[in-house]
Every structure is written in structure tokens, then in C-alpha cells.
Amino acid sequence: MSTRRPVAATLAVAGYVIMIVPILFVVATSFTGGSTLRFPPEGLSLRWFDAAVHHTPFITAMVSSLQLAALATVLALLLGIPATLAIHRGRLPGKGLVEGLFLSPLIVPELVVGLALFQQLMIGLRLDNFTVLLIGHTVLMLPYAVRVTGASLALADPFVEEAARGLGASPLRAFFTVTLPLLRPGIFSAALLSFVTSFNNVPLSLLLQSRDFRTLPVTMLDYVQQSYDPMVAATSTIILAGTVLVAVVAERTVGFARIFGGINR
């Protein structure tokens, strides 16, 4: 950091404080021995971690959220990668419009999409809430699949496929032996981003809850509204630890910064 730019440096420090410090307070509070959200914490204990891992609604919701995120990610990739190929390599009328359609779930507010699915699919068509959540999350993840794999497709030398064809590979063979391996980092990035986004989602999932299937972030929100004890802090710390693990894996594989498109260091 440059100290010759005092104004910029001060603003930057303020930005980091706002981004990071509240998270540190969550971690600090989760180790409290007391029974309220209070700072500084009263004593040191792991009692709230113990409470969190034995709180059935949280555990059930955590499993549900992981399942949903995994399924939605796989589905979004299965639908999104072929669509990306069609958009970038196929002969498609209205290419720009089609690509725009695949990115459009990013523009409409998630809460509005959630309301639409709740009203039309859950109430209107009487679909169960897991199916509707899966549809909604897959729709929401499609833009990531299309955009991120599209970016790595655009970076790949288009002539490698032709080279494979010239050497005797059928179009399908060329795709599986050359194109797909080249897309692997992009697909990995898209999968990771989709999984995390789906796991953390609140606005889309908010209205799509039922007694049988609830997602973790929404369950935590409800819990915070009802009681003010540090169990949510402990749960948050567990989620933070999991997220750090994901980030480290991301950094070791594709490079953390590259996952968020446009940043190539």
C-alpha cells in the first residue's frame, strides 16, 4: 500500500474495516461463555458450538442446503455447458438475444423470482417446495455456467478443435478429448461459484420453504428473529470455516482471483 496517497489509503482502510471487522466480531462472540450476544464476551467456552451441532433444525437445514446446492450446480452445468457451446460455436439465429436470455436471471431481483415461483409453481401447480427450489436455484446458477465457461471457451484457441478434426477426430471426439479438458478450469470455477451462491441464497429461497425442506440461511434468519443467543454466532463461525476451506481449495486449483471473471493476475 502506498503511503504517498494518504486520502486513498485512509478510504481503503475504512473499506476493509467495514468488510472484515464485523466478521471478526462474530467469531469472537461465538466463543463466549455467556448466554447473550454481548461484547466483550463473558468468558471463553465452546458451549455454543456444542449447542449448534446438536440443534436439529440447523443440522437438517445444513444437509438440505448442501443437497440443494450440489444438485442445482450439477443441473446448471448440464444445461449451461451445452448452451454455451451452442452460443459460441453453433449456428444460432439471434445469438445475442439467446445469450441475454441466459443471463437475464441476474437482472430480475431474486425476491421477485422467488415470489413468481412460489405463487405460480408451488401454489398454482402444487409442486413440492424442493422441486421448486431446485428449479429456482438452477435458473439462478445458469448465468454463472454460461458466463464463466463462455469466458474460458473464448480464451481457448478455436483452431485446436479444427486441429483435432484434421487428425481424425469426429466432432464429438474432438469435444471430449480437446474442448472439454480446456474448459475444465472454467467449469470448476462455475461449479464453485454456483455451489456457494446456492448454499448462501436467501432472497430466492425465502418464500420457498416448507416444514419438510428448509434451507440453512433462512432457518438461521428465523432463529435470529426469535432468540438472541450466541448459537447463531457459533453456526456462523462454522460456516466461515467451511467457506475459508472452499476459498483455499479454489486458490490452490484455479486461482482465487480468476474465479471472479476479469481478474487475471
Binding site: 468488510m19 451445452p82 436471471p105 405463487q119 418464500l207 456462523s236
Partner: protein, 273 residues
């Protein structure tokens, strides 16, 4: 290789988009169960004249704009310093700025309950310093919402600005300095205009996100500081007023569309001039 059949691969995804997004959204906005488009229009008219509803719309727009401004003022310097720094710490700091994007909004917002709550860090600090007799109520205020939203969307602003600044050739800075421009003048005359498209993208993303966010106003604004998103939720799950829900959804959607439209217009104008 271009082939006709490759184009067909778009169909399964397109089918899901239609059935799971476009059709339900259109149906919800225009014709919810038992409600006619006229009812929605009437409710919309009511909202746009009723002082209570207008206050909520205005708060949503106002807080969205304030958060956008703060995110740019804090985010651009971070992006600029990171992009221009040669220090090995810049990689770590960049990762630290991106990492919160992976972390749950609930977890991030929950932190402010600990910081701003009546038994929280700031209140207790003020008490300990003897500056106040009673810990002030910082939660459930607009300030709390602005802080919470800034925390959520600052990483997004940093990333957009960073990609923009990183594309500006540092050689241009050197050239301007060599021609006699001061550091400040170089920044405002060269770097800022060239990274303007990225700044517009950042502003759009932050505004669209903060004007439609739910978790933050719900946890930090409570029932006293309602925004469009929290209203939408209560219309559709508490009072089940489809007309009001559709009208609110329409306002939110139009708000985001107008801002995205304006920003792409600005981007296009910037490119042609």
C-alpha cells in the same frame, strides 16, 4: 467448427428458463391468481400516491444511492491501490476483498448485530469511555442498513473497479507524469476517465443489489425501517395480498431495469464519444 446441430444444444436450458423463470415471472407480474391486471394497476397507483408507501419507495431508492456512493468512494481507491501496487501483500489484500463474496450474507450481516446491538461493541465502548450514560440504539436505524449493505456490496464494487483500472496501461500514468502532470492530475485526467466504464458497472451492480436486498433490512432495519423487499415479503407471505405483492415486485423490477438501462446507455455514449 460451426454446425447446425450444435445450435440445438441451447434448447434444454432455454426450456428451463421459460418454464422456471420467464413464464412464472410474467404470470406473477401481470396475472396473479384471482387478480386482474386492472387490480394491480390500481394498487400500483395507490402505492405511488400513498405517503406511507412512497416513504418506503423513497427509502429504498435513497439508501440504494447512498450505499452506491459509499461503495464507489471506498471501493475505487482500494481497487486502484491494489491494481497499481507491486507489493506482494496486494495479492493477499485482493483475496481478502474478494473472500466476503463467498461468505453467507446472513453471517456477514449478523456481525453488525454484535457490533451495533445494545450490548454490542460500539455501545459498550462508548459506555466504558463514559461518553454516554446508556448504550445508544444503533440497530434498526437507516445507519445500520447502510453499514450492512456497504459491507455486502463493497467487494462487488472493488472487483468491477479493479478489472477496469487493471486494464489502464500504467505506462499512461508514467507518460502523463513525464509530461508534467501531478499525481492527482494524472489520476483525475487519465485513470478515472479510462476506468469510467468499470465504475458505471460497479455502480449498477451495487445499486441493483442494495435496492433489492432482503437479509440486511430484515435483520438490521427491523419493522421500523421497511424497504421494498421486506414489504414484498410480508405482502406475499403474511397478508397474502397478491395485487400488492405484484405491484411491489413491479416497482422493484422497473427500478432495477431503469438503472441497468441508464448505465448501458451511459456505457454506449462513453464508447461513441
Amino acid at each position: 467448427m460451426i454446425s447446425r446441430r450444435t445450435g440445438l444444444l441451447v434448447l434444454p436450458g432455454l426450456a428451463l428458463l421459460l418454464a422456471g423463470f420467464l413464464v412464472p415471472s410474467a404470470a406473477m407480474l401481470l396475472a396473479p391468481p384471482g387478480v386482474s391486471p386492472a387490480d394491480i394497476l390500481a394498487r400500483l397507483g395507490q402505492m405511488l400516491t400513498d405517503p406511507y408507501d412512497l416513504a418506503i419507495i423513497w427509502r429504498t431508492v435513497r439508501l440504494g444511492l447512498i450505499v452506491t456512493l459509499i461503495c464507489l468512494v471506498l471501493g475505487f481507491p482500494i481497487a486502484y491501490l491494489l491494481a497499481r501496487s507491486t507489493s506482494r501483500w496486494s495479492g493477499v489484500l485482493l483475496a481478502l476483498a474478494i473472500f466476503p463474496l463467498l461468505l453467507s450474507n446472513v453471517v456477514r450481516t449478523f456481525g453488525w448485530l454484535v457490533v451495533l446491538g445494545s450490548n454490542g461493541a460500539i455501545g459498550q465502548l462508548l459506555l466504558a469511555l463514559g461518553l454516554v450514560d446508556q448504550a445508544p440504539q444503533l440497530l434498526y436505524t437507516e445507519l445500520a442498513i447502510v453499514l450492512g449493505l456497504t459491507q455486502l456490496f463493497l467487494p462487488l464494487a472493488i472487483i468491477s473497479c479493479y478489472s477496469a483500472v487493471a486494464q489502464v496501461d500504467p505506462g499512461l500514468d508514467d507518460a502523463a507524469r513525464g509530461l508534467g502532470a501531478s499525481r492527482t492530475r494524472t489520476f483525475w485526467g487519465i485513470v478515472a476517465p479510462l476506468s469510467a466504464p468499470g465504475i458505471v458497472v460497479a455502480a449498477t451492480l451495487v445499486f441493483a443489489g442494495s435496492a433489492t436486498a432482503y437479509t440486511t433490512p430484515y435483520l438490521l432495519g427491523g419493522s421500523s425501517q421497511r424497504m421494498l423487499s421486506t414489504q414484498l415479503f410480508s405482502y406475499s407471505s403474511v397478508s397474502i395480498d397478491w395485487a400488492a405483492a405484484s405491484a411491489t415486485a413491479l416497482i422493484m423490477t422497473v427500478l432495477v431495469f431503469v438503472v441497468s438501462g441508464l448505465s448501458s446507455l451511459a456505457a454506449r455514449r462513453g464508447r461513441t464519444s
